[in-house]
């Protein structure tokens, strides 16, 4: 057989290829020729014929020409760990090597990826909430020039109240530094004329409101000058985007058509863009019309202003202070001591408590991420210790330390990328779930994973993995070369120094998890306290519905309607009582008045502020509130006929007449706002009307009759299930008056739930993060200990061979595992004690250093840690002495 290699080499020598390349081509082609030769000979051809034929096939010029036309192949990758090399090729090699390492230890890979996914997923989801609620700009141009304008009366402790109509319009006429000021209030309107009546919520706004926001309508126009003045055409309406979509199918032709709202025709002039705040304040927007004689006593208007370009907030505030001075001089009886103040528009979507809660949650996911990172470092370190020999070997054959560090960083980067991708997926589903909950946090419904969130995820993923990679690489490369090489595969558990680092890491994890758990525990105990707090009213078998009579109904017609309806409702089987009230308990809006006893010397103290409600006689029975003294109203009690009668809460009675029976006595209501006298006819129990976590309010109740207050809230105490009762109520209402829709059906339980929704939201999220943190920390303890036990199998075998009992080995391992846990618990207690002070605002009847919470959390962490230690410890006890020794 001819020397095929020589034949090939001779034919391509003229190409002058690099020696390695030439060698490869020679080897490959010679192999092929050999194979062909063997096949031909086996097929019966004579060796000489076969040789001649193949040599002819290896036509020299054809082969050389063809090869010359081939561009040079990409350079071969350098040898692993070689000191010099091209950056890209090296990186590619590191990556492939990293992938191979991960494939080789799937458990390690899975644990690391899960850890990172949890950490990155939770922080991405939480960041998208913070991003949408707190960081994203308002949907209005130059929103930094927008402010909210409040009235205030510092000496009475009113820091922010809404404005009276008269003060708003006067202010509007006098402002110099604002390009626009606008006001908004709320009402409900009935849409009639097509089928059954529908109730719309309406935002009532002055022209300056939407104009000040610089809103661009989707179609049509906004309100124009004059449309908020009486004597002009005020019969115009702007639709919210939501209503336009849901009720009118997004049809632009609606602009220019008329709707019948509360029996009056109003022309649709425009459609608002979607968004929040303000733009979703009502289904429809109607003009707030200035009347010649405006009210100076009732604080009803939310006001905003847009500062002129170049005007500072302080200059705007000074402008308002000047106006306050003018108003106080002109109308001293109502405006003395009042100052108009401004508040940055940045608070429009989240108040202080929400802000605080969201930042605390963000801090919590930060901790969670930190724990995940620590866990990853631990896992990488365990890996690296196992690979000490490999690393030492590579150092010994000349790999630069930098190259080895880079290999480890590339590995953790690889984990980081996978973790970030999965975390992002997790965040998508968490965000979708969060969007659908209604917890009273503005813009939560608009949370998305946008570019900024994506950037956040990438940054978090990169920094976490680079940092963990660097830390573990640094640790791994600390090891001395020769011992590591000698130690071989049974490299004990790393150097004492590395062992200490791992223990510190476990301790840190425990401390972080502990802090989160205590935070969650405090919120949990607060929530429990809120739900147990004495509400003052009953919630069982009680529900609310809203009656929406058209605004054209006067007080007599309304009273008759309510009487008819309540009488018919009481006749429904299962209904025990029915009553009406002007405002729901636990609702956001509240009506208030100043309260004093006649002749009472306030001696410069503030006028006590009480909430007031209009009620029908049966109200307290329907609510389950005890009548403590005197009587409740009768159908004869009315506002406007004879003396004003009132019922007060126990707290109000104690305040007005501390040592006397208040029944039959007089009091001053709307003190400082027109001073009316009322006779106290009864005292009832205190109620937490403004929120379960707010102290019971001072309360004053007046007769509903004679006021014509709309809409009316009906309280029903009924054993019939709500779902069955509502259709009956609707039928009853329809038989009395077809133009009065029933809406906003709510059981008391739902009402209570809604009032604590945001508290529940914060608590649930923090508790979930804390539990995840605990799981990760336990995983860390378990992982490190399992690893140690596996590495010490031989040592344990020797111990047991020398007579150590199972109990002592168990104690040894568990004790070793618990040492960093104990240290972590101590640090965690201290950290929680300091950090929980930040939560004071979110707590209720629980102190930030609540002993029960701290003790419970510490105990549970210790118990869970013991459990996490026991699994590897039991494994150690079951070590087969003989095989352990044999491996020695």
């Amino acid at each position: 057989m001819p020397d095929w290699k020589a034949e090939v080499r001779r034919r391509i020598a003229s190409l002058r290829l690099p020696p390695v390349r030439e060698g490869e081509i020679v080897e490959e082609l010679a192999q092929d020729a050999e194979d062909r030769y063997a096949v031909l000979v086996r097929g019966g051809m004579s060796p000489a014929d076969a040789e001649a034929r193949l040599l002819a096939d290896l036509d020299q010029t054809a082969l050389a020409d063809a090869l010359r036309a081939v561009p040079p192949p990409p350079a071969a990758p350098p040898v692993l760990g070689a000191p010099r090399g091209r950056v890209l090729a090296d990186a590619w090699q590191d990556l492939r090597y990293g992938l191979r390492m991960l494939r080789r230890s799937p458990l390690f890979a899975a644990l690391s990826v899960i850890t990172l996914t949890l950490g990155i997923g939770a922080s991405t989801a939480m960041f998208s909430v913070v991003n949408a609620v707190l960081l994203a700009p308002l949907p209005f141009p130059d929103s930094d020039r927008l402010v909210q304008i409040w009235d205030s009366k510092p000496e009475a402790g009113w820091s922010q109240t809404t404005l009276t109509h008269a003060n708003f319009w006067d202010m509007r006429d006098m402002v110099r530094e604002f390009s626009d000021v606008g006001a908004m209030t709320f009402t409900t309107l009935n849409l009639t004329g097509s089928g059954s009546p529908e109730r719309f919520s309406a935002a009532v706004v002055s022209v300056g409101f939407l104009r000040g926001l610089r809103v661009t309508p989707v179609a049509g126009r906004l309100f124009a000058d004059g449309e908020d003045q009486s004597g002009h055409d005020n019969a115009v309406v702007v639709l919210s985007h939501r209503l336009w979509q849901s009720r009118f199918g997004g049809d632009r032709a609606i602009v220019g058509r008329s709707l019948v709202l509360d029996g009056r025709k109003a022309m649709v002039i425009g459609i608002l863009p979607p968004g929040t705040p303000w733009l979703d304040a009502g289904d429809v927007f109607v003009p707030l019309v200035r009347t010649p004689k405006e009210d100076r006593a009732s604080f009803e208007l939310l006001a905003i202003g847009r500062l002129k370009p170049g005007v500072l907030a302080a200059e705007g505030a000074a402008d308002l202070a000047r106006i306050s001075g003018v108003l106080a001089r002109q109308f001293p009886d109502v405006n003395k001591g009042h100052t108009l103040v401004i508040e940055s528009s940045s608070t429009w979507v989240a108040g202080d408590t929400t802000r605080r809660a969201l930042w605390i949650l963000m801090g919590a996911v930060g901790c969670l991420l930190l724990i995940a990172a620590v866990n990853l470092v631990n896992l990488l370190l365990a890996q690296a210790t196992g690979r000490a020999r490999e690393v030492a070997l590579r150092s010994a054959i000349g790999a630069a330390r930098g190259r080895i560090v880079r290999q480890l960083v590339v590995e953790s980067l690889l984990l980081g990328v996978i973790g970030a991708a999965l975390g992002l997926l997790a965040a998508f589903s968490i965000v979708a779930a969060l969007r659908s909950v209604d917890v009273g946090i503005g813009r939560l419904a608009y949370v998305t994973v946008d570019g900024r969130v994506l950037l956040f995820t990438i940054l978090v993923g990169l920094s976490t993995s680079v940092a963990t990679g660097l830390v573990s690489a640094w640790q791994a490369s600390q090891g001395a070369l020769v011992p590591a090489l000698k130690e071989g595969e049974r490299g004990a558990v790393g150097s004492p120094r590395q062992r200490r680092v791992r223990q510190i890491l476990v301790g840190a994890e425990v401390a972080l998890a502990m802090t989160l758990l205590i935070g969650a525990g405090l919120l949990l105990r607060s929530f429990d306290a809120v739900m147990r707090a004495d509400r003052g009213f009953q919630t069982e078998h009680r529900m609310l519905v809203q009656l929406n009579p058209p605004s054209s109904y006067d007080d007599k017609r309304l009273w008759q309607l309510m009487q008819d309806f309540m009488a018919r409702a009481r006749a429904i089987p299962g209904v025990m009582s029915a009553a009406a009230v002007s405002g729901r308990p636990l609702s956001d809006s509240n009506t208030g008045l100043g309260l004093a006893a006649p002749g009472q010397d306030l001696a410069g103290r503030d006028v006590p502020w009480a909430s007031w409600r209009l009620i029908t006689p049966d109200y307290f029975r329907a609510m389950g509130v005890p009548l403590l003294r005197g009587r409740t109203f009768s159908d004869a009690d009315a506002i406007g006929e004879g003396e004003l009668t009132a019922i007060i809460s126990e707290r109000a009675a104690k305040l007005l007449y501390p040592d006397q029976d208040p029944i039959g006595r007089q009091m001053i209501v709307w003190k400082g706002q027109g001073d009316r006298r009322a006779q106290i006819i009864g005292v009832v129990g205190n109620m937490r009307e403004r929120g379960l976590d707010v102290q019971p309010t001072l309360a004053v109740y007046f007769p509903y009759r004679g006021t014509g207050w709309k809409p009316a809230q009906l309280v029903l105490n009924a054993t019939t299930p709500t779902a069955a009762l509502v259709p009956t109520l609707r039928a009853v209402m329809a038989s009395i008056d077809r133009d009065v829709p029933i809406s906003d059906v709510q059981t008391f339980d739902e009402m209570v739930d809604a009032s604590v929704a945001s508290r529940r939201f914060t608590m649930t999220l923090l508790a979930s993060f804390a539990l995840l943190a605990l799981l990760l920390a336990l995983g860390g303890i378990y992982g490190v200990l399992t690893y140690n036990v596996a590495r010490r199998t031989a040592e344990i075998g020797v111990r047991m061979a020398l007579g150590a009992g199972a109990g002592s080995v168990l104690l040894l391992i568990v004790g070793q595992g618990l040492r960093p846990v104990l240290a972590g618990v101590c640090v965690g207690l201290l950290a929680a004690g300091a950090l929980s002070q930040l939560m004071t605002r979110l707590l209720f009847e629980v102190t930030p250093t609540d002993f029960v919470t701290y003790a419970l959390v510490a105990t549970s962490i210790l118990m869970a840690s013991v459990a996490a230690c026991l699994v590897p410890a039991r494994k150690a006890v079951r070590v087969d002495v003989m095989s352990a020794l044999r491996s020695e």
């Binding site: 192999q31 020729a33 081939v70 561009p71 192949p73």
Partner: protein, 118 residues
């Protein structure tokens, strides 16, 4: 007559690059070495198409230089090392495109000549 026409057509097409199509198709499923590729082409084409050493390897190297296939020395126990070629992601795209073109071409020929698909 028809068979002969097709063969002549095929020779011309072969020069224009359908050899690439053949090779890419063969390394699509699994990596193969050069002799394996040559042998499979010969067997599957029932001897109609043959690759000589002098034409096969320059072609393989060209495909590799374009990044469509990737050759690697593989050592199997008890055997000498051999260079195996596998399809790269780029190569897969090219293969799909060439398959499509070829099918369109064959269809066009069939429509013109009335020759049924082989």
């Amino acid at each position: 007559m028809q068979h002969k026409l097709l063969t002549a057509m095929f020779d011309r097409e072969l020069k224009k690059g359908s050899a690439e199509l053949l090779i890419l198709s063969l390394v699509e499923q699994e990596p193969r070495h050069g002799y394996d590729i040559a042998r499979l082409i010969e067997i599957r084409s029932k001897g109609v198409i043959q690759f000589k050493v002098a034409s096969l390897y320059p072609l393989l190297y060209r495909l590799e230089a374009r990044g469509w296939i990737r050759g690697r020395w593989v050592e199997k126990p008890g055997q000498r090392r051999r260079r195996y070629y596998r399809l790269t992601a780029d190569g897969r795209q090219i293969l799909d495109a060439q398959r499509h073109t070829w099918r369109a071409f064959a269809d066009a020929i069939a429509r013109v000549t009335g020759v049924e698909h082989a």
